[in-house]
């Protein structure tokens, strides 16, 4: 036994995990040392989430050894020493922020814990003090994720595993988060960052391992880490997944969608004047509370607004019914109890039904098989449960089911949140193909890189108003576009409005 066992961090040796016939991890070996930030990159289904799940005790490995600080890892004993900040927050939505921090660490065995006192410092540090007594489900996603981070900090864990932690944070919030990671690393904690964003991996990590097919393919150390290197390792042996191409759109064409004096019922946005051209992909950008998210939802009728909405020759709710809508949150865009195939044809089902009301299962199956092919969904069979697909493929199913019914306009929120690079490029290409068929795409984005990769034009919202509109083609790289967007958004005060994760009464 070494003299200083407390310093060696986490060591994983020959980790194997299979799900039925699928090999998720095929003998993975890696080490995370205290004081450094270890990045893990990898395409869909490479096994990244499986590593996280094993460390989070959500599943068990088939074989392989994990040691923590030189001692064999015991799920029971070490659970509290590893804190996991998830891609989708795993919180108690009905409890307050402060209570969420206390669950599992209640100060008294008998009394209901009283609030925030125990964690005031942590709450202040992450800027949640003013929300301490708000229930989690009343907060927007960005703040929910901050709560998740606060929970990890409150546990005073040795190992911090960040699983796509900032996928829904704004640039500023992400920057804050990375500062925090660096300071934790400075305190000698083990930090692991699982991310799809190569820029962040290369900027913030001391070491990056690229995981492909359940094994570590390459390990890159500081001077060698850059986006191109990681990207090259990721796409080796894959068909070229280049950035979605862009063509300049003709402003002269008559608009497909026109909003006039478009005002939210509760004034989340007001007096919006907006034209979207046929074939255009429009990005809507703005922090939570700016009204951007609500604006995109209102186009599909899932937020109530008044004013004039005209889509092609239709207007009002007749027009809104021609808009397909896909949320950013997969837990409310997919049906867990249905198969992949059923999820694909759920929106089309009424047209696959005989006049007598019988759902034609074989026609539905053929329809689902066809959209699976068109939209490049990777699944063993169409009858596979939807939850067994990787995040990227689930997202493709969500988007495919909306596109397959051929809406005139598709409205999306964060279309590639928590999705790997290869799937991202495929989703952008699908959206582009779709808009080229005489439709249009409007998407609410939280990542500037997404705007750059996928959109023709971006509008920036601040406090319910459009403060600017930029043609993406005028920018040569994502950074300069991001700067331009940031300068338009200006010194936008922190948000206090909350996005409602559920559709509104009677708005459907």
């Amino acid at each position: 036994m070494s003299a200083e066992p407390a310093k060696s961090g986490i060591e994983i040796q020959n980790l194997v995990k299979t799900y039925g016939d699928t090999v998720a991890l095929g003998g993975l070996t890696l080490q995370a040392r205290p004081g450094e930030i270890l990045g893990i990159a990898g395409p869909n289904g490479a096994g990244k989430s499986t590593i996280v799940k094993i460390l989070a005790r959500e599943t068990q490995q088939d074989s392989g050894r994990i040691t923590l600080n030189g001692l064999p890892w015991s799920a029971e004993r070490d659970a509290h020493r590893v804190a996991i900040v998830h891609q989708e927050p795993q919180l108690f939505p009905n409890l307050t922020v402060a209570e969420n921090l206390l669950v599992g660490a209640e100060p008294s065995r008998f009394n209901r814990p009283k609030g925030r006192d125990a964690n005031t410092e942590v709450l202040r540090e992450v800027g949640l003090l003013e929300y301490a007594d708000a229930t989690v489900d009343s907060l927007p996603l960005a703040l929910q994720q901050r709560t998740e981070i606060a929970k990890a900090l409150a546990k005073n864990a040795d190992v911090f595993l960040f699983d796509e932690p900032n996928s829904a944070l704004t640039e500023n919030e992400s920057a804050e988060l990375f500062d925090r990671m660096h300071s934790l690393a400075g305190q000698g904690k083990v930090i692991v960052l699982v991310s799809h964003r190569l820029g962040e991996l290369s900027t913030h990590c001391d070491r990056v391992v690229v995981v492909v097919d359940g094994c570590v393919r390459t390990e890159l150390v500081t001077p060698d880490i850059n986006e191109e290197r990681i990207a090259r390792e990721l796409v080796v042996g894959r068909s070229g997944a280049g950035a979605a191409d862009r063509t300049a759109r003709e402003a002269a064409a008559p608009p497909l969608l026109r909003l006039t004096q478009w005002t939210h019922r509760r004034a989340r946005f007001a007096d919006i004047e907006l034209d979207v051209a046929t074939g255009e992909i429009l990005a809507v950008v703005g922090v939570e509370g700016s009204g951007g998210r609500e604006l995109v939802r209102s186009m599909a009728g899932f937020e109530r607004a008044k004013g004039l909405l005209k889509l092609g020759s239709r207007s009002g709710s007749a027009a809104q019914s021609q808009v397909a809508y896909v949320t950013g949150d997969r837990s409310v865009s997919l049906f867990e109890n249905l198969s992949v195939g059923e999820n694909l044809f759920v929106r089309e089902a009424s047209r696959l039904t005989t006049r007598a009301g019988t759902l034609n299962r074989s026609a539905a199956h053929r329809w689902a098989a066809a959209s699976q092919k068109t939209f490049l969904v990777k699944t063993a069979t169409l009858d596979t449960p939807i939850r067994s697909l990787s995040g990227g493929n689930q997202q493709k199913v969500a988007i495919a089911s909306a596109l397959a019914i051929r809406p005139i306009l598709i409205a999306l929120e964060e279309p590639t949140r928590g999705v790997d690079l290869a799937s991202k490029a495929e989703i952008y290409r699908l959206l582009r193909d779709y808009s080229d068929t005489g439709a249009a795409v409007v998407m609410y984005c939280t990542e500037d890189s997404e705007v750059f990769d996928a959109a023709d034009r971006v509008i920036v919202l601040s406090r319910g108003r459009i403060v600017g509109s930029l043609l993406v083609g005028a920018y040569t790289d994502a950074e300069s576009l991001a700067e331009a967007i940031a300068s338009l958004a200006g010194s936008d005060a922190p948000h206090h409005h909350h996005a409602d994760p559920h559709p509104q009464d009677g708005a459907a």
Binding site: Y19, T353, T374, D383, P501
Partner: protein, 352 residues
């Protein structure tokens, strides 16, 4: 709008591979495993009762009596299955069962209505209770547990009011009832069929077939399942969630009413508290049959088997003179065991 993806879909439809059939077999096997387990359990319990009762259990008269009890449970249980699939709960069907029987009796015997009109009134009132449940659940947004609990009390109160808490029978009413109507009504559920088959079994078979079509074959059933799986996603997919939920409540109330009227026809009299004891065995049967209280799951075959199991327990324990208390305890244990087992296999499947 003619579009390129549409063309792509059509093109791909033409070249769909037959390999996609494989997965359907897997799903079938899983469902089959569940059903086989339930059938196995039923056979084992039947064997135990057959031995313990010295063959009495297997006597034809006994099995036919069991079938009759099962038919009431199944008609009610199938309605409940529809509500559970859509992700709601109904606690009022027992009261609706009682009210519809009582209303038929009172309108027919006390008010002198024609029996067909009396039945029509009872069914209409049941539909109204279903609409009431649906309205308060989906429009007023009260949890269905509370809404239907309220409805249950309300409906039961209404039954007492209408009946003056008396027992009604067409043969011994104060008013003279037309003998033709009596024989027609009793014939609904109490007439001799070949092999002494109870009429209720025929009703059960017809109704189960209808439910099987609705739940497994129709668009309606598919959407019920989708809504039960994720109501928010269903709304985003532009499925009319409210309308479907209201329909489910109406179907459940109607099924309870039919069962109530048929039981009245079989017994020949109706008491104000009939249907009160139906709530628990129905839930137990449906849950044993694989329906989930959290929605999105449930089948006709499962519910029928669950009802059969409950009927067997009910009958077998009574045969062995186990006493009402012991019966309750035993049925409670079996229900919990069935759900625990089901949850365990579910988890095991997810893990795999």
């Amino acid at each position: 709008m003619s579009s390129e993806p549409a063309a792509k879909v059509k093109q791909a439809v033409a070249q769909t591979s037959p390999g996609a059939e494989k997965g359907r077999g897997q799903t079938f096997l899983r469902e089959f495993g569940r059903t086989a387990g339930l059938i196995g359990t039923i056979l084992v319990i039947m064997a135990i009762f057959a031995i313990a009762s010295g063959g009495l259990f297997l006597q034809p008269e006994n099995l036919l009596g069991l079938l009759r009890y099962m038919s009431t449970l199944a008609i009610v249980g199938l309605g409940l299955t529809a509500v559970l699939i859509v992700g709601e709960i109904d606690l009022s069907f027992g009261a609706v069962y009682g009210l519809s029987a009582m209303l038929t009796a009172v309108a027919w015997i006390s008010w002198g209505w024609n029996i067909a009109a009396a039945i029509g009134l009872a069914l209409l009132v049941a539909i109204c209770v279903g609409l009431f449940n649906g309205f308060f659940t989906t429009v007023a947004k009260i949890p269905s547990f509370i809404a239907t609990l309220g409805a249950s009390t309300l409906v039961f109160g209404f039954t007492l009011l209408v009946s003056g808490s008396g027992t009604f029978s067409p043969m011994s009413g104060g008013r003279e009832v037309d003998a033709g109507q009596i024989s027609w009504f009793l014939g609904l559920s109490n007439q001799d069929l070949p092999f002494g088959l109870p009429m209720g079994a025929i009703w059960m078979a017809v109704i189960a077939l209808g439910f099987w079509y609705i739940i497994s074959k129709s668009l309606f059933g598919f959407r019920l399942k989708a809504i039960g799986g994720n109501a928010v996603a269903a709304q985003f997919a532009r499925i009319p969630v409210r309308r479907y939920k209201i329909w489910a409540f109406v179907i459940c109330a109607l099924a309870a009413a039919v069962a109530g009227i048929l039981t009245f026809s079989f017994i020949g009299s109706v008491q104000p508290d009939s249907g009160a004891g139906l709530l628990f065995p129905s839930f137990a049967a449906v849950v044993i049959g694989g329906a989930s209280l959290s929605g999105g799951r449930g089948t006709v075959l499962g519910t029928l088997l669950g009802c059969l199991l409950l009927a067997i327990l009910n009958n077998g324990l009574a045969l062995m003179a186990a006493g009402a208390f012991l019966q309750q305890i035993f049925i409670g244990v079996v229900t919990i065991a069935a759900v625990v087992l089901d949850q365990a296999t579910q988890r095991w499947r997810k893990e795999r």
